[in-house]
């Protein structure tokens, strides 16, 4: 039996960076993956959707070219080509990962891992030809992630699909019903609406993207409804769902809805299938997650867990950071905590990005905060770009001026948030941010202007009305 210093289960954005870091720190490393290197993020999530969104938003821009003084005639698209481009991007990144694993001398096992004991694992090969392998593990990092699933109340039918199978489609439906107005639902809604699909979103809660502050939600929802023509039904359930060979039919309250396809975007479930946690002395929480402390340690001393499977923030970059931390904690004696500042990006149209505390969270906590906002409509570069929608917003501690949260909504918001994340992690004050020179004309100037506004010293916006 071959024994490794560190065995990582799952080669997604949590697992493979953990394997690389462990190898860098001198451990012998095995990486077990039952499907593809890169996990859901690379293969069926972040990367393929963003590749499609790049095409769809360029197409949307082409359609609005006259507003920029351009003439584009006969703009159209071929979805099969879009899908082929997406597959090519995914394949190239996956090949890159394969080389990275080899360069770091990480042994990749293809198959499903299960615990025999806390230090012994079996990798069950999926293809019938190969046999199962037993490997020893001094330390194990579980990074098995989560799966999108179709809940039980939906009919099992080829027209009722979740995000992963949607990405396998070779042609687009003419109309789609999206159940769930969360991040995945809204991203797909915008992508498909830009590609001329008739989109209806049905959300049980009172608004879409419920975790965002109301002012941010308003900007996104307005753009989705008015500019992209998406129908959004909130505060309602979808009932009497039935699918036949041509359509999916359902009722939202009094209204009858129908579309060619129903996309279920109702969250993801942790994947623990086949792991046999009990053999390692572990058990999943009531919600099916593996609980870890702030160092990524499970209840069993030699077993760590990172990413979606731990039930924390369900984001690829959070999983990556946790993977690095867990690998360091598994291989060295100096303990490092998981990072607390986790930025969040939503690739809707317009984009949304947030980091740290939201206004609503601050209110719930009863924190004394100050806010400062700057509208892209007042920013030179945003107008020049033809993207005047949205704003950036800072939240700071009212007594110490410490920046506690930031939100951006508008074009390139997902790129802009990195500055805010850096500022939060460095514990900068609003004054320091305001005094930092930002290039003109750029979108990032908005952060500086918003920091001035927070301190009631706005330069390019009217002063706050005195109460």
């Amino acid at each position: 039996m071959e024994t490794f210093g560190v065995v990582v289960i799952g080669a997604g954005p949590g697992g493979y960076p953990a394997a690389i870091r462990a190898a860098q720190l001198g451990a012998s490393v095995a990486l077990v993956e039952k499907e593809e290197l890169g996990g859901a993020c690379l293969n069926w999530g972040c990367i393929p959707t963003k590749t499609l969104i790049a095409s769809s938003s360029l197409y949307a821009q082409m359609k609005s070219a006259p507003a920029m003084g351009l003439r584009v005639e006969g703009a159209s698209f071929d979805y099969a080509a879009l899908a082929a481009r997406k597959d090519k991007v995914v394949r190239s990144l996956r090949d890159g990962l394969k080389q990275l694993m080899a360069a770091n001398k990480i042994k990749v096992f293809k198959g499903t891992a299960s615990f025999e004991s806390r230090n012994r694992l079996v990798v069950e090969a999926q293809s019938s030809g190969s046999s199962s392998v037993e490997i020893g593990a001094e330390r194990t990092i579980i990074a098995t992630g989560a799966n999108s699933s179709i809940p039980d109340f939906l009919p099992r039918h080829e027209r009722v699909i979740e995000s992963r199978s949607f990405l396998g489609l070779q042609s687009l439906p003419a109309s789609i019903l999206i159940l769930g107005g969360g991040v995945i639902g809204c991203e797909f809604a915008c992508l498909l609406a830009q590609l001329d699909v008739r989109v209806t979103v049905v959300e049980l809660l009172d608004d879409i993207l419920w975790t965002l502050d109301a002012d941010v939600r308003r900007v996104v929802r307005q753009h989705m409804e008015k500019n992209l023509g998406i129908r959004i039904l909130t505060g309602t359930t979808l009932e009497n769902i039935a699918a036949d060979s041509a359509r999916v039919r359902a009722a939202a309250g009094q209204e009858k809805l129908e579309a060619e396809v129903l996309l279920a975007a109702l969250g993801r479930k942790p994947s623990l299938e086949g792991l046999k946690l009990a053999n390692a002395g572990l058990c999943a929480s009531a919600k099916g997650f593996i609980e870890v402390d702030e160092y990524g340690r499970t209840e069993v001393a030699t077993v760590y867990a990172v990413g979606d499977v731990t039930g924390g923030v369900q984001l690829a970059h959070a999983a990556t950071s946790q993977g690095l931390v867990a690998a360091e904690n598994a291989c060295t004696r100096r303990l490092r905590k998981n990072e607390a500042v986790v930025p969040n990006c939503i690739f809707t149209s317009p984009e949304v990005a947030t980091v740290g505390l939201s206004e609503e969270e601050a209110q719930k906590k009863g924190s004394e905060i100050k806010t400062g906002k700057y509208m892209f409509g007042a920013l030179g570069k945003a107008l020049a770009n033809g993207h005047p929608v949205g704003f950036v917003k800072w939240l700071a501690d009212a007594s110490t001026d410490q920046l506690l949260g930031a939100q951006a909504v508008g074009a390139h918001a997902t790129e802009l948030i990195a500055e805010a994340a850096t500022a939060l992690r460095a514990e900068l004050t609003a004054a320091e941010l305001a005094h930092t020179i930002h290039c003109h004309p750029t979108l990032s100037e908005a952060w500086m202007e918003a920091a001035h506004a927070l301190r009631d010293e706005p330069i390019h916006s009217a002063p706050r009305k005195k109460k």
Binding site: K337, D401, E427
Partner: protein, 458 residues
């Protein structure tokens, strides 16, 4: 007519009390007998009723503040009546502050001076304190020099750097700290090498924490906001008043009376059985009731155990007033069952139940907590094998009662499973010799083990 409401006199030892809550608001109608406000004394929470009727015109002592007894805390009258001007009653200093020996110059207390080497809060003192009633030195020393001298520029630099200037040695006239002294101090302390996030520095400065006392704990080696928050949380906080009183009394007792301890094991099997029989008849007694009664019967046979000494004189108490320790979330109170030697078990039970309930509700009066001659502390419900107690000041012994546990024991030369309970008597050795303590403890034990006695009494 406008009339003052005064802080009531509460008992022999109470000189002041804290107003915890005003039950009536200014402008509200007050009837005779209405609860006006709630106070906290060294020993209890009390409600104060109004003896007057009218409208609450003004609150002189706000919630959370302490006022001497008999001082004016509010005015009642009719709306529109003129309220007399009144100076806030001056508080006597807190006990901890009052340790300054007579004749010493009272100095503005710098927390760093009393809190020891731990991280401390600091205040850049003004060079010349404006005279205020609180800080006025006694007339004889009206010319006392200011204690801490620092130039305004030096104070500003220290404040900006968020360091406590008090350890800095001044080189100015009569030791005045100058700007260059602060700069030199910062350099000597390696201030420039400190790495601290901007927000952490702002937080430290606004809480007057000395940056030089902070230690980073994150992996980055920088002092972060969480390091500062931890330091703020670790700053010394005043104990609640009740805790301060407990601390003072226990320390005084433990220092002045040489404590010694005698433990006996009581076979409670018969009494436990008898208690169940009584319960079946609808009479419910607690184990404490029996112990109280057994002690009340025994103390008259051992007058010295029911006495008080200061090491020179002894006062023998002719009555048995039993203190019963009752544990509350915020500390311990000891209500007193007076004349316990005259009470039947049933009367003891009723009295103990009543006092315990009042104690739990925080409604004991000072009189109900005064005058005990011997105390019983029962930890039976807390599953303990054995423990010792500290003598209640003013007494010479205390009985610590532990849990009744099923144990192997020898009964009639046979190994048997019995319900055993340990009791430890703590005695003031100045007054009570070992033999007497042993005889007393065994006398109580024998009474508890004698089922026939309880059959007669209960």
């Amino acid at each position: 007519m406008v009339q003052p409401i005064v802080m009531p006199k509460l008992g022999q030892s109470e000189e002041e009390a804290k107003i915890v809550q005003w039950r009536k608001k200014v402008g509200e109608r007050v009837n005779k007998g209405d609860i006006l406000f709630e106070i906290e004394t060294d020993k209890a929470l009390l409600e104060v009723e109004s003896f007057l009727a009218g409208t609450l015109l003004k609150v002189v002592v706000p919630e959370g503040e302490v006022a001497p007894v008999q001082s004016t805390v509010a005015f009642i009258g009719e709306p529109g009546e003129a309220i007399p001007e009144i100076q806030r009653p001056e508080r006597r200093p807190q006990k901890a502050e009052a340790l300054v020996t007579a004749g010493e110059v009272p100095q503005p207390v710098r927390p760093s001076a009393i809190a020891g080497p731990a991280r401390t809060q600091w205040e850049v003192p003004r060079e010349f304190q404006p005279p205020s009633a609180e800080h006025l030195p006694p007339p004889a020393q009206a010319q006392a020099p200011p204690v801490f001298k620092i130039s305004p520029r030096a104070a500003k630099l220290a404040k900006e750097a968020a360091v406590d200037p008090s350890p800095i040695v001044g080189t100015g006239p009569s030791g005045r700290i100058l700007e260059k002294d602060v700069a030199g101090y910062l350099k000597a302390k390696g201030y420039a090498r400190l790495r601290i996030t901007p927000a952490a520095k702002a937080l430290a400065a606004s809480n007057k924490l000395d940056l030089l006392t902070l230690e980073p704990c994150g992996d980055s080696g920088r002092i972060t906001v969480s390091d500062v928050r931890r330091a703020i949380a670790e700053l010394p906080q005043p104990l609640p008043r009740m805790r301060q009183v407990i601390a003072e009394r226990l320390t005084r007792s433990f220092r002045s009376a040489p404590h010694f301890f005698v433990t006996v094991s009581v076979d409670m099997t018969d009494l436990v059985e008898f208690r169940s029989e009584l319960k079946a008849q609808g009479k419910s007694y607690t184990v404490t009731d029996f112990i109280l009664k057994a002690v009340a019967l025994t103390l008259p046979e051992f007058p010295l155990v029911n006495s008080t000494t200061d090491g020179v004189n002894v006062s023998r108490h002719s009555k048995v007033h039993l203190g019963l320790a009752v544990s509350l979330d915020e500390g311990l109170v000891v209500p007193v069952i007076r004349d316990a030697e005259e009470l039947s078990p049933e009367e003891i039970h009723l009295r103990a139940t009543e006092l315990t309930e009042k104690a739990r509700a925080g409604r004991l009066t000072p009189a109900e907590m005064a005058g005990s001659t011997f105390t019983i502390s029962n930890m039976g419900m807390l599953d303990v094998e054995n423990f010792t107690a500290i003598i209640n000041p003013g007494e010479s012994a205390i009985l610590a009662v532990s849990s009744i546990l099923k144990q192997p024991a020898i009964k009639d030369d046979q190994l048997a499973v019995r319900w055993l309970m340990k009791m430890t008597l703590t005695s003031d050795h100045r007054l009570i010799d070992g033999a007497m303590a042993a005889r007393f403890a065994n006398a109580v034990k024998q009474r508890l083990e004698e089922k026939n006695l309880w059959k007669r009494l209960a």
